[in-house]
Symmetry: C2
Subunit: 162 residues, 2 copies
């Protein structure tokens, strides 16, 4: 499990949009999910029986508890923020394009995160629209989550390109 500190680099050391490594796959570390955490997250945010009730879940299509998709996305976010976004001059996330829950995530799984900046395009003056593609894989190397994020990152250019 990687450590997600809340102290990123200061505002003066953050990378602007034009310095992001487009096309380079970035290793964002990994995270092991426990059954206690799986149930605690889902009890608070997604209390469907296949996330919170081991007995009923054992009779479900998955044969046991699976993690909430929101929990899986939150694990992805924690890893990518700590490894990548805290170094970028991010303004905010704007949208997820398609988010796919490719395979079930179970207690004990070790999820490894990779992210790639796909494109950086001028948006309004002083900022760019950045598209990031992300993936979590389990300990067997199989994808469990695939997503694309649109976010806004500060640019050093005062005006947008035409």
């Amino acid at each position: 499990m990687t450590t997600a500190g809340t102290d990123g680099p200061g505002p003066n050391t953050l990378l602007p949009a034009e310095e992001l490594p487009v096309g380079q796959e970035l290793d964002c570390g990994s995270y092991q999910l426990t059954e206690q955490e799986l149930c605690a997250f889902a009890t608070q945010w997604d209390p469907q029986y296949f996330h919170v009730d081991p007995a009923r879940a054992s009779d479900s299509d998955f044969g046991g508890l699976i993690a909430s998709g929101l929990h899986t996305m939150s694990i992805y976010q924690r890893l990518v923020v700590s490894a990548v976004y805290q170094r970028y001059d991010v303004i905010a996330g704007r949208a997820f394009r398609r988010v796919e829950f490719v395979r079930p995530v179970r207690a004990g799984d070790v999820l490894t995160c990779a992210a790639t900046v796909r494109s950086v395009e001028p948006d309004k003056p002083g900022r760019c629209l950045v598209v990031v593609e992300g993936c979590l894989r389990n300990q067997h190397g199989r994808p469990v989550l695939r997503l694309e994020l649109e976010c806004l990152v500060r640019s050093r250019r005062a005006t947008s390109a035409g």
Copy 2:
């Protein structure tokens, strides 16, 4: 704030796909976000400064702390599960189509949730692909989150339609 119990109806009382109210907007209640919760969620899952550091956030584009998009999505999920999905015979979520963070969410905001089943289509035998459109609005009636979910719901038909 609505109460999200973990005890939904039992397996015998759950609605199959063909009984879902297609096209009807469902009121899923509301939820008030505190600053403590906003920071606690983001410290664990999305520790970007504009979610966790009030001093630096006050100099950001938003002039103060804003909630993590994952937190906003989790609030949506809690409300829709408690009001709607716990009554349906859901197998699992499969994907979010576009998820839009339309406006910033701030501490103190009261978010009201609505969801509409947009379509129910046969998938594999015994199950349907259900598309649900969801929205969170703030206390000013303005949308802050819009999304579309694809999920699988059990069907009473043993075979899929052609």
